[in-house]
């Protein structure tokens, strides 16, 4: 099994603060499938830079407020 990428995110927490916003709604807003949002949230998939920016914009935050690098 491949080691998960050392990128952390606060997407689940941010979704809950915004509504809560469903995974499907976020997926639609950034143009990916719900399964991709799930994979990103679980840290199994690192989104492209474009998707990372799109996610951050949905929450009106900067990319670094949503994503982090595991120390």
């Amino acid at each position: 099994m491949a080691k998960p990428p050392p990128i952390t995110n606060r997407i689940r927490e941010l979704r809950e603060q915004h509504g809560p916003m469903s995974q499907s709604a976020l997926a639609e807003a950034i143009g990916v499938t719900r399964q991709t949002v799930i994979a990103i949230e679980l840290g199994k998939y690192s989104p492209s830079l474009e998707s990372a920016f799109r996610i951050a914009r949905v929450f009106d935050l900067g990319v670094e407020d949503v994503f982090g690098w595991e120390a």
């Binding site: 499938t33 991709t36 199994k44």
Partner: protein, 149 residues
């Protein structure tokens, strides 16, 4: 999780990969069984019957189309959506890895031909290599979808 919920939560492309892997595995098993039975009856490697191979390919194509259409009707929105970035990466990786799976038995088939000069066996092994490569592509897709990407 209920089977209906599992079906709902599975991405469209993973569902199609499951369906195609099942159809092709069944098809490959049928073909292999036919060749082995015919070869036993003849006492040597059965020659390829072009009509049978063409008919076989047509049946596989029709079966795939029917299953794909049924899946698309069940989830039309997902079926119409283009592959997203993760799905494209999964498709690329699976296609790349399956190439190796296809090449290995094909090389074995060439080696077998060079040693035994059995053109009939060469045909069947190359045909099976093509099927194996395609099955492997769908299996890799399923594994990658399950793993997250």
């Amino acid at each position: 999780m209920s089977p209906a919920a599992t079906f709902r939560n599975t991405p469209f492309r993973e569902k199609t990969a499951w369906a195609m892997a099942a159809i092709l595995t069944g098809g490959a098993a049928f073909y292999l069984n036919m060749v082995i039975s015919a070869s036993r009856a003849l006492g040597q490697t059965a020659p390829p019957i072009v009509g049978f191979v063409i008919g076989y390919v047509v049946v596989i194509v029709i079966a795939s189309s029917v299953v794909m259409a049924a899946l698309a009707l069940a989830t039309p929105r997902e079926a119409n959506a283009p592959a997203d970035e993760r799905e494209k990466i999964i498709g690329d990786k699976a296609g790349n890895w399956s190439g190796y799976v296809m090449v290995m038995p094909a090389l074995g088939a060439l080696w077998h031909y060079a040693v035994n000069m059995d053109g009939n066996m060469l045909f069947h092994l190359v045909f099976l290599s093509l099927m194996l490569g395609q099955i492997a592509e769908y299996v890799f897709q399923i594994v990658l979808y399950r793993r997250g990407g």
